[in-house]
């Protein structure tokens, strides 16, 4: 059995010791030595702290310049486009991205005898594509320098208007600025707080490693949609149906897009299947969405082709996949031809 002396908790007792006979300076010196010996134990922590401060300062040398927002596809387009022929640029969400490939677009443009070069810059995964395009148009000269006669067609889905992902946006090099510009609170992180003070924070902020590695997209999307919506029906469209509202940031980005692209912009709602149409009607999405687009058109002068879904005339069984993505070649071709009709 261990002896319990409880020394640490005993009341201090007076005990005449040898120390009493020592010289005061000697006592002070011993005390100082003991004190110094104790604090010496903390020197490794101090060394780590000081080294980190030095490293932090030196990190400023490798912080990359904040490059304008860019998408690899966008840069590729800018590099390959011929300046003497007008462009036809499709933008929007994954519905447009999956439905009209650039090969199909080129084929149909040639068949229709149109001189345009076709590009599809649609973005998958929601996340307010209009904002990204607005940023592109705002920050880079390429869209502004389109050859005469060029057209940007926004294949617009209502759900985009409130499918905002501030986290995703905050990951983009200029996303945070855009969020602030739109009058919203950006997601606050350690790096965003200290990005102007700390070299490491600025580096981390610019490199955006926090999203690495990318999770399994489809499963994660299904997961977040389920959490968000708790419904089974066409989840990605559904994002707007329970709390439909035109977020300020979307409105700002749509107007910025209109300003940047001027008369070359045209908006056409993407067709959706009967199930989604019914659900839209049940929740007032079609009424709210088209009312917003009408107002937007009046304010900015951007034409809206509200009857575009009817013009395409896709059969009901074209919409079998999640989010009403088109999968059959014949349906995709019908959509591509209808898009080209908008150029005439």
């Amino acid at each position: 059995m261990r002896q319990c002396d409880n020394a640490s908790f005993a009341e201090p007792q007076f005990q005449p010791r040898a120390m009493s006979f020592a010289q005061p300076s000697q006592v002070d010196s011993e005390r100082r030595d003991r004190w110094a010996a104790r604090w010496k134990g903390l020197t490794p922590l101090l060394a780590i702290l000081i080294s980190l401060i030095i490293i932090d300062v030196s990190f400023w040398a490798i912080v990359p310049d904040k490059a304008p927002l860019s998408l690899p596809r966008y840069e590729q387009m800018a590099a390959t486009a011929k300046p003497d022929r007008p462009w036809l640029v499709l933008i929007g969400s994954s519905r447009g991205r999956d439905a009209v490939s650039e090969e199909l677009l080129a084929e149909e443009l040639e068949r229709a005898g149109l001189p345009h070069q076709g590009f599809n810059l649609s973005i998958g995964g929601g996340g307010t594509p209009s904002l990204l395009y607005a940023a592109l148009a705002d920050l880079t000269p390429v869209l502004k320098a389109m050859p005469a006669g060029s057209r940007v067609i926004y294949l617009f889905s209502y759900f985009e208007m409130n499918f905002l992902q501030p986290g995703l946006l905050g990951d983009l090099p200029t996303g945070r600025e855009l969020i602030v510009k739109a009058g919203m609170d950006p997601p606050v992180t350690w790096t965003s707080r200290l990005a102007t003070l700390s070299g490491i924070a600025a580096f981390a902020e610019a490199e955006g490693w926090k999203a690495w590695p990318a999770p399994m997209g489809r499963l994660l999307q299904a997961s977040s949609e389920r959490l968000l919506l708790k419904r089974k029906l066409a989840a990605c469209n559904d994002a707007g149906q329970h709390d439909y509202q035109v977020l300020e940031i979307n409105d700002w980005s749509m107007r910025a897009l209109a300003r940047s692209l001027g008369g070359s912009l045209l908006i056409a709602p993407m067709p959706v299947g009967p199930m989604q149409q019914q659900d839209d009607a049940d929740h007032g999405v079609d009424v709210g969405g088209s009312a917003y687009l009408d107002k937007f058109s009046r304010d900015t002068g951007v034409p809206i082709v509200a009857d575009f879904p009817q013009r395409v005339g896709l059969p009901a069984d074209a919409f079998v996949g999640n989010c009403d993505h088109l999968t059959r070649p014949e349906d995709k071709r019908m959509l591509a031809r209808a898009v080209l009709e908008l150029l005439k």
Binding site: R2, A7, F59
Partner: protein, 467 residues
């Protein structure tokens, strides 16, 4: 407040400096007790009353069960204390589980869930108190006369929330012997160890969870069989990184404050048998279960059936300790069954399984059991298992995620190899490097974590916080 938060780093910096600056031990322990109350109260100050109740029961139980009293009084005191402590644990942790299952069995019984909030770390601090009272009764330790010392033992913040389960026989003598500040050598080692634990938690465990494990377990009806296997393997890496990372941080935090803890993980994935796995995984819990459940039940004394029953009961209770859910019960029973088979094989003495074959069999068992552990409920588990019987499209996995999973596996394996090597040097635990090497190692990890934006990921709780 968790170890991987900025708030904790600020809190700990203050606690560290004040602890070192205080001259008298009794004030140092009082200060650490107050700091532990702040740490726990940060989560929910109302449950400080629960901690106080556990301290009171344990303290008074210890005094009544102490040597010098009549045997009958001592026995009654320990029985009463253990019942009271288990009653608190059962109410907060298992009451809703019990009523929900009772309501399922007897729909008209009128039992209703009270939606009791599970106080964080309750399983750990209740187990601390139980082991203390039993140890006093069994004369392994004298009853602690100082309430401050005992309260600090129960609520010392490095071990309070998620272990390791520190024995009073290890902790209280350190207080009685007086504070011994760590040397510069030790301090450099603790700093490097804390950061390595942080790396395992926030870089390996959290990112693996986010990129692979969570999406699959959140979508059990969509994941293909291959994806389920990948996610379970990834969870095996995630949980060892998460919990051993936490243990590293706890041991280092306590060490920097002058309190030494025992090792909690001894390269568990190098085990060549289920028995060896339990000697290496969460050592503080498995030894607790062995000393306070398995041995009192009879341990390995008695016939084969009796021993097998003891193993099954001990491991099933260990599973239930992890959480009030059937998945944990099954997890514990599964491990218990593996131990029974292991023991039966050894007793049969047919032939010695080669170490490599033993390791493969053990790891297959352990990782299969992780599916039980990670599943939210039996329904989700069934949906995941259905992937092996039905055709589901293989979901695209980003190359980066797979490369990352491979990298994490290599890092954890490398750590295991080093830990096994240290065992041969008779110094199990963390690699003892020279001070400059530990400082350089710490600086490297800290710079890497900061530059890869880890603090911006948000604080994700440790897996064992829920227990």
């Amino acid at each position: 407040m968790t170890f991987n938060s900025i708030a904790f780093l600020c809190f700990f910096s203050v606690v560290l400096i004040v602890t070192w600056a205080i001259g008298a031990d009794r004030w140092r322990w009082r200060f650490l007790l107050a700091a532990s109350a702040v740490f726990y109260g940060w989560w929910d100050y109302r449950f400080l009353a629960l901690v106080a109740a556990v301290v009171a029961v344990g303290y008074l139980g210890g005094l009544a069960a102490g040597s010098g009293r009549p045997e009958k009084t001592r026995s009654r005191a320990v029985t009463l204390s253990v019942i009271l402590l288990l009653a608190l644990l059962c109410f907060f942790k298992y009451f809703d589980f019990f009523t929900q299952n009772l309501a399922l069995l007897m729909p008209g019984s009128g039992w209703q869930s009270l939606n009791v909030i599970l106080p964080v770390g309750i399983s750990f601090f209740v187990f601390h108190a139980i082991s203390y009272v039993v140890d006093v009764r069994q004369n392994r330790l004298d009853a602690e006369p100082s309430m401050t010392a005992f309260a600090l033992y129960i609520s010392f913040f490095p071990h309070m929330i998620a272990g390791p389960i520190v024995r009073a026989t290890d902790f209280l003598p350190q207080l009685r012997a007086g504070w011994r500040p760590p040397t510069a050598d030790e301090m450099a080692g603790y700093a490097a160890r804390f950061l390595w634990g942080m790396f395992k938690k926030v870089f390996i465990a959290d990112r693996l969870g986010h990129a692979i494990v969570d999406p699959v377990f959140a979508n059990p009806t969509e994941a293909s069989a291959a994806l389920v296997i990948i996610a379970v393997l990834a969870f095996g890496i995630q949980i060892v990184a998460d919990f051993s990372g936490y243990s590293d941080m706890a041991i280092a935090t306590a060490g920097m404050l002058g309190i030494r803890f025992r090792e909690n993980f001894l390269a568990p994935y190098t085990a060549a048998s289920p028995q060896e796995f339990w000697r290496r995984w969460h050592v503080s819990l498995s030894s607790w279960i062995r000393d306070y459940v398995y041995i009192p039940l009879g341990g390995s004394r008695g016939g084969r059936v009796r021993v097998a029953c003891n193993l099954l009961v001990a491991l099933t209770l260990s599973g239930l300790w992890h959480g009030a859910a059937w998945t944990y019960v099954l997890w514990g029973t599964f491990h218990g069954a593996a131990l029974v088979v292991n023991q039966a094989w050894r007793r049969a003495g047919w032939f010695q399984i080669p170490p490599l074959v033993g390791w493969i069999l053990t790891m297959t068992t352990i990782f299969m059991a992780w599916a039980l552990f990670r599943a939210a409920d039996l329904g989700q588990l069934g949906q995941l298992m259905a992937a092996f019987g039905e055709s589901r499209p293989m979901t695209f996995i980003p190359v980066g995620a797979m490369v990352f999973a491979g990298l994490c596996t290599l890092l954890i394996l490398a750590e295991h190899v080093v830990l096994r090597w240290l065992e041969t040097k008779e110094s199990p635990g963390f690699l003892a490097l020279p001070v400059p090497a530990n400082i350089a190692w710490g600086i490297g990890i800290a710079t890497f974590l900061l530059a890869t934006d880890v603090p911006s990921l948000g604080v994700r709780n440790f897996v064992y916080f829920q227990f």
